[in-house]
Amino acid sequence: MKECTRCKTGRAVVKRPKTAEMMCKPCFYHVFEEEIHQTIVDNKLFKAGDRVAIAASGGKDSTVLAEVMTTLNQRYNYGLDLFLLSVDEGITGYRDDSLETVKRNQEQYKIPLKIVSYEELYGWTMDAIVAKIGLKNNCTFCGVFRRQALDRGAMLLKADKIVTGHNADDIAETVLLNLLRGDISRLTRCTSITTGTEDALPRMKPFKYTYEKEIVMYAYFKKLDYFSTECIYSPNAYRGYARNFLKDLEAIRPSSIIGENLHIQQETLSKIPEQGKCSRCNYISSNPVCKACILLDSLNRGMPKIEIADEGEKVEKEVVPTSVHKTINF
């Protein structure tokens, strides 16, 4: 029998991916939760009385997030008003199933649940969008819409903050992708533990220093109820490359994953673009009209192929209606 390196009495059942320590279950739960508590305290993520929306997809990260947030809120008397917030993209056979999981979570953790759907916000489900534009670039729509949908849902609930289940692996992956895409402005933003502090609702990532593997372990040992299916509308191929690379990297040197080494870059960047507001929906945006409005406009006008070119100023010129230019002139 292997002995737990922490309590010296229990039977070690896990080797922590982060530190390679052998631990028994209770000790693993303890250090896992305590590290997240420490992250929350060190970064002053919350204050008493905050209304906090937990972004819940029904997947492992958000399920563990709901579990840990409710546990820590009780254990340390954060005084937070927690609730679950889900986005229904309208993907039959995927999201409808995972939302069932979230509904069970709601009963289990006894916190309210709010579901906002693409259909009610934009008048389009992802099923309908895919039917219209096919399987290429559909993820662009989904990603852009989801970001806004979460904010809108949270505002409806009068939330002060949103917490998401982004873990260290996710952040490392995003850093890598932003480097590969040459997207410096996103690179500056993607590693901070809180984003959108100024205009939009602040988003917190309490799992910033948590390894994905440990989250899976935690969910597995605690037998948490979560949904684990990839989205049926094909996962992003490019992301797949990056993900495989990071998996291998973690095998070579586990500490490569942790955000710490990367986040310093933020300060080293010379150019930080200004963020303004969308002239149509008032949502935070780097351009005069936000991406969601542009995409939505194209969908409604039935010409989605033109502007998915992405990332380009040309896009704005082509699609943004003349009214925007007027706004600038006035």
């Binding site: 982060k18 420490q38 480097l179 410096i184 690179l187 490359y241 070579i252 080494n261 998915i308 992405d310």
Partner: protein, 425 residues
């Protein structure tokens, strides 16, 4: 590279349709029998999606080279005497030729601003298998064919220590250094940094202010990602930026940074420039997870095949990364990178806030505990990870000297701290 030297990047899978269509269009239009540049010669090569003839290809290479070469100039009015770092590889081989050509006639400008003072090669015998007499001869021959003075510096001289001479030969010390590392990643990492340090030190001794490296775009891109993965993200600018200040008065320049590996190969092939193949640590491995550098290299190579813009996009990213301004004279005891206030002892040396960092596993043994504490307190984030994967007693003596000096200066600083005005202002 195929015989005719003809090559092209594969089309891209994941680019937006708009872009893909444009590229396809461009490709369709540009492939012509006649060179699109001079419109007289028959085209034989495809260079960045343009079909051109060899003289125009050469012209493009020289032109892009000069742009990059100019970007390395700090003092725009003075003649700079440069040292060329020659690994034996194709890219540095091409660098010697192109620079020499620029200076000797093709460009008045280059000859007015640059003078090749010498070629330096670090002999890594001991790290890998020793260089044979034939290899040594070949390397020296390259320099001789251009009439440039040649300096071959043994890697072992990084261990030279005038204060405490020891019985062991440098070769034995290299072997111990290699054995003292627990991972290939760390082996490659310290070789990289010590090699650069050795080049900088030698350049300084010989009176040079600038060293030019043959690092290609492909290599640059790989280095960027692997630096980030090794926890050296914040000093990317110092490591691969053009006007770096890492080694103080000796500046490193990378005039080949615009060229893909294969573009260099085409050039060398046409010019009959032979490189000298010297094996590196990962030459013979078949394990994709041999080390972070090795993994990153195959990752970028693979991406480049499917997405031909990968390398140049990465380079564009790297240019935008800069070092934060820090008013702190301390540098890493191992690799000489500037220490950020947050990477020095306060945050990583003592009780680590991340228990991930200070791995207890592997580092026990009280006899060198003191040494560990000392060096680890004055290394950068990346080297802190190195310290977890190496027995500190095998490190060259300069590391300890640097750590001691850093220690003294930080003690001094703490004594007068109360009287210092807010730094950074």
């Amino acid at each position: 590279m195929s015989e005719g030297g003809k090559f092209e990047d594969n089309s891209c899978g994941e680019v937006p349709p708009e872009e893909a269509r444009r590229q396809a269009d461009r490709l369709k239009k540009k492939i012509s029998d006649i060179c699109v540049k001079c419109r007289t010669e028959k085209s034989t090569l495809l260079f960045r999606k343009e079909s051109i003839c060899w003289p125009c290809y050469e012209d493009q290479i020289i032109r892009k080279f000069k742009t990059q070469l100019n970007a390395t100039r700090k003092n725009k009015s003075q003649l700079e005497k440069v040292l060329i770092a020659f690994s034996g590889g194709p890219s540095s081989r091409a660098l010697i030729h192109i620079l020499n050509e620029c200076i000797l006639g093709r460009s008045n400008q280059a000859s007015a601003f640059f003078e090749i003072g010498g070629i330096i090669h670090i002999d890594e015998s001991g790290v890998t298998k020793p260089e044979t007499a034939e290899e040594k001869e070949k390397l020296a021959q390259v320099a001789a064919s251009y009439n440039i003075p040649y300096h071959s510096v043994p890697f072992g001289s990084i261990f030279n220590d005038s204060e405490n001479p020891t019985q062991e030969t440098n070769r034995e010390k290299i072997e111990k250094l290699m054995q003292g590392c627990t991972t290939n990643t760390t082996r490659e990492d310290i070789i990289f940094h010590m090699r650069n340090l050795l080049i900088a030190n030698t350049a300084r001794t010989l009176g040079y202010e600038k060293v030019l490296f043959g690092t290609s775009a492909s290599r640059m891109a790989t280095t960027l990602i692997s630096l980030v993965c090794k926890g050296r993200g914040y000093n990317v600018a110092q490591e691969i930026g053009n006007n770096d200040t890492k080694y103080g008065d000796v500046q490193f320049g990378y005039p080949m940074r615009d060229f893909l590996g294969k573009e260099v190969s085409v050039y060398n092939h046409h010019k009959h420039l032979e490189d000298v193949f010297l094996p590196s640590l990962d030459t013979k491995t078949s394990d994709p997870k041999f080390s972070i550098d090795h993994l990153t290299e195959s990752f970028i190579e693979g991406l480049q095949v499917d997405f031909s813009h990968t390398v140049h996009t990465l380079l564009r990213s790297s240019v935008k990364l800069t070092m934060p301004k820090i008013d702190q004279p301390m540098t890493c005891s191992i690799c000489a990178a500037s220490l950020l206030p947050s990477t020095t002892s306060q945050s990583i040396g003592g009780e680590g806030k991340e228990d991930s960092c200070c791995g207890e596993n592997g580092c026990g043994g009280e006899e060198w505990l003191v040494v560990v504490a000392n060096i680890s307190d004055y290394v950068c984030g990346g080297c802190h990870r190195v310290m977890n994967e190496i027995s500190p007693q095998v490190l060259p003596p300069y590391v300890q000297h640097n750590a001691d000096r850093n220690g003294r200066s930080s003690r001094l600083r703490s004594q007068i701290e109360d009287y210092l005005l807010d730094d950074g202002e």
